[in-house]
Amino acid sequence: MKHHDIMPAGQVGRSVPRLEGRQKVTGRAAYTHNLVLPGMLHAKVFRSTIPHGRILSIDTSAAAAVEGVHRVVTGEDLRAIVAEPYFGPAFHDQPALALDKVRHIGEPVAVVLAEDPYIAAEAARLIVATYEELDAVFDEVEAMTSSAIVHDVLKPAGTFPDLKHLVGKRDTNIALDYQLRRGDVDAAFASADHVYEHEFKSQQVMHTPLEPMVSLAAPDGDGLLIHTASQSPSFVRIEIARLLGWPENRVRVKVPYLGGGFGAKLYIKLEALVAILALMVKRPVKLSLTMEEQFFTITKHACTFRIKSAVSSEGRVTGRRCEVYWNGGAYADIGPRVTQKSGFTAPGPYDIENVSIDSYALYTNRPPAGALRGFGIPQLVWAYESHSDMIARDLGLDPVEFRRKNILREGRPHATGTLMHDAEIEGVLEKIAERMNWSAPFDRGEGHIKRGRGIAIAFKASISPTTSVAIVTIAADGCASLAISTVDMGQASDTAMAQILAEVLGLATEDIKVIHPDTDVTPYDMATLGSRSTFHMGHAVRLAGEHARRQLDELAVSLGYAPGAAYAPRDLFKKKYGMQAGNIVGVGSYIPDYTSPAPKTGLSDNITPFWMIGGTGVEIEIDTQTGAIKVLKLINAADLGLPLNPKIVETQLSGAALMQYGFTLFENMLFDEGQLTNGSLADYKIPGLNDIPPVIENHIVDARQTTGPFGAKGVGESATFGVSPAIANAIHDAVGVRLTELPLTPESIFNALRAAKSQAGKA
C-alpha cells in the first residue's frame, strides 16, 4: 500500500472544533429521541418476568379494553407480516416478540400501541402471561455443561462462513467455539521453570447511552421508512429487507446524531419490531425505551478467563494457554464475533512462541450481551495484565521490566502468525513509564493511608474485512457535500471526515457539508463500530475526493486549461454549462486485504488491517480501615497513528478511559435468579464529576499508520483497555492484596485485606 502523506492544505491534523458544536450547545441538534410524525403511535413493551419458560398464555383483553389503546400485539400476531420474525447479526435467534419461549427476564412478550404514551404504558401493565417455567442457567462456565438449554437448535446467519458448522446443532449453549493453536504449548509447560495459572472474572455492565434506544418506523409508499438511533443503518436496511423478503431499496433508514452509542445501538435492536408494527397498523410507530429497559436490551459480556503461562527463570513467557468463557445472555447478538475477533488477542501484546486459545460464546438466561467499547478486549486485558503483574512480582521483577522483556516488537509474529507492523506497543509502554516517573522513588503513604501504582498495556485488532463507501458531490459553485453512512454518535466523525475531504479538495473543513445516514442517499458502510471508521471510511472519503478531483482536472484540461494549471471549480462549471449548473460526483470504496484464520489452528498471515495500542498508568490511595480507594492520577497513552484532530482525539482518550473507570470501580448489573435488581441510575451508578481522578493525562504516542488515511487509524476504544488491571495492579502495590473479580469496590478491597490479615494470623 502507498503512503498518504499530509498535504499542504493543513486541514488534517488541525484541532477543528466539532462542526455541529453550535447545534449541540443550543439544544437544537437532531436526535431520533425528539422525532414526532403525524399519526404516530407509541409502543410500550410488556416483558417477561421469568428467566426461562414456555409461554402458555398471554391475556391482552384488559389492556385492549383501555380507552385510547389502538392495538395490542403478541409474537404470534407478528407472523401475519413476517412468518419467521427472528433477527440478529450473527445468529437469526432473536424474535421481535417472544414466540414459543422466553429466555430472560425483561424479554419483550407483547406490545401495546396507543397515541398517548402514558396510556400505552398503563395498558401494558394489565397484560397477563402464564408460563411453564424451565430450569435456567446464568453463569457462563456452568452453561458449558448445564442441562438447561437456552436454544433448542442453533440458528447461525448465513453471512459468516466460520459459523456454518454450527447450523442445526442441538442441545448446546455453546454458540461458538473458537480456537487457536500455535507451537506446542504442552511442551512449553513441561519444560518451564515456572508455571502460573489464574482465573479472572468480569461482571455484566451496560452502555447507558443517555439517549435511550429508540426507533420509529413509518409506511412510505410501498416501502418503509425507519428513523432509528442506530450505529449501523446499512445493516438495519439489509436485515429488515431480509425479514420482509424485499429488495433493499424498499427500506429507507435514516439516522441523525446519536445521544451516545458505545456499541449499544449496533446491528439491529428495536427496528424489527417497529417495522413489523408499522406495516401491521399502517401508521408510524415509535418505540422509546426507558433507562431501565436498556438494561434488558443489550449489555457487555460477563466473562471468565483462565490463563496459564510457562515462564523461564529470566522472566520470558514461553507458552500461554487461554480459556475464555463469554456470557452472551439469551441471544447471540454479535457475541460470537467478540469470541473470535477478540479471542485471538487473548494472550496479550507479547511475543510468545507457544499459544493455545479456546474462546467460547455461551447462551445463558441473562439479558443479551454484545459489543461495548472494546469488543471484548477490556475483559481480556483485565485478565492478562493482572496475570503479567502477578508473574513479575512472583519472580521479583519490576512490572515494566517484565513487559519490556516480553512485548511484541515490530516485525515479530503475533499468535496468529501475522507480523506486527505499525504497532507502538513499546512506545505506549515507555510513554506510560516516563509519565509515571517509574524509576524514581515512590511515596507509599503512611498510617492507614497506603499508596500504590500500576500499569497495563494492550492491543486490539480491527474487525476485518469490512467495507466503506463514500460519495462526494461538487456543486456548480465549487462547494462539496459528503454522503456517508458513518454515524456521528459523539466521536466527531462528521468533523474528521470533512477534514479528510477538505484536505484532498483544498477546501476548508468548515465548508464541507456532511450528509447524515439516509440509505436512500448515503452509500453502504458496514457500521460505526470497533474504531473502524477513521481507517475504513477515511480511506473511502479520501478515494472519493481524489476521484472528484481527477474529474475536475480533466474538465479543466478539456476546457483549455494547461495540465496542472490552477483553476476555480466554479469557473469550470460556468464555462462548461454556460451558467451555474452541473455536478461532479466522486465515489470511493474501500475494503482492506485480509486472510481468514485457518479453521483448526486459527492462524493467518494477515489477520487485521491495523492494530490499536493502548495503555494506562494509575496512582492510587487506599484507606486500609475502610477499603476506600481514590485514583489520584490516570495516565492514558495510545498509538492511533497520526491524529486527524488532536483535541478531539484527547477527548476520546479520556472519555474511553473514564467509561472503563466506571466499569472497573463500581458499575455492576446485580441479579437475583435472573432478575436484575439495580436497573436504574439510582442503583446503577455511572461516573460523575465527583468520581473522576483529579489528574488525567492523555498522550498520543509518536506513531504513524503507514497504511492509514493520512497516517491515521482508530482511537475510540484504545484508552479503555488498560484501566481495570492498572488499578488492580496498583491496589496490590499499595496493600498487597490481589483482586481477581471486577468491580474493584471498597468492600472487596476491605474483605481481601481482612482475609489477608486472618491468613497472616494463622501463619
Binding site: 472544533p17 466539532r18 439544544g27
Partner: protein, 161 residues
C-alpha cells in the same frame, strides 16, 4: 371536560404563553408541545440532569416537575440562551473547550453552569465538580467541562469589570 386538565399561564424564554395541561404530564412533555427539544428525559428519576430547566431562575429536573406546577412561573430552557442571536458566554466556552461529545447532556450542563456562575463568579475546581455532580455525561467529557466552566467564568468576569 376532563377535570384533570387545567389551563396554565407562564413565561417561556421571555414570552408569555399558556397551555391546557393534564395533571400527569411533566415539564419535558410540556416543552415538547412548544417544540422545544433541548430538555430531554433520559433516566426519568431526576438523576442525570438531561432534562434541566430553569424555573424562576432555579434549576429543576423537568422529568420530576409536574407541568401544572409551573403556572405563573418563568421558564428558561437552553433554547432561550441565544435569543439575541449570539451564543451565551457559557455556550461559546463549551464549544471552545470541546466540552461535549454526543451533546445529549449538554443543555443540562450549560444551564447548570449559568446558574453556578450567577451565584459564584469564580468557582474553583472543587466547587465546579460539586455543583455539576448532578449532571451526568456518559461520554465523560468531564475534564473539558471543568475547563469550559472556568473559561466561561473568566470571560464573564472580564466583561463585567
Amino acid at each position: 371536560m376532563d377535570p384533570s386538565i387545567r389551563k396554565i399561564a407562564f413565561t417561556l424564554n421571555g414570552q408569555k404563553v399558556s397551555a391546557q395541561v393534564e395533571s400527569h404530564i411533566n415539564l419535558v412533555d410540556l416543552l415538547r408541545r412548544f417544540n422545544l427539544d433541548g430538555a430531554r428525559e433520559s433516566c426519568g428519576q431526576g438523576l442525570c440532569g438531561c432534562c434541566t430547566v430553569l424555573v424562576d431562575g432555579v434549576a429543576v429536573s423537568g422529568c420530576l416537575t409536574l407541568a401544572q406546577l409551573v403556572d405563573g412561573k418563568s421558564l428558561t430552557t437552553v433554547e432561550g440562551l441565544d435569543a439575541s442571536g449570539a451564543l451565551s458566554v457559557v455556550q461559546q466556552a463549551f464549544i471552545d473547550e470541546g466540552a461535549f461529545q454526543c451533546g445529549f447532556c449538554t443543555p443540562g450542563f450549560v444551564l447548570m453552569t449559568h446558574q453556578l456562575l450567577e451565584t459564584n463568579a469564580d468557582p474553583d475546581e472543587h466547587e465546579i465538580r460539586d455543583y455539576l455532580a448532578g449532571n451526568l455525561c456518559r461520554c465523560a467529557a468531564y475534564p473539558e467541562i471543568i475547563r469550559a466552566v472556568k473559561t466561561a467564568g473568566d470571560r464573564m468576569r472580564a466583561i463585567s469589570t
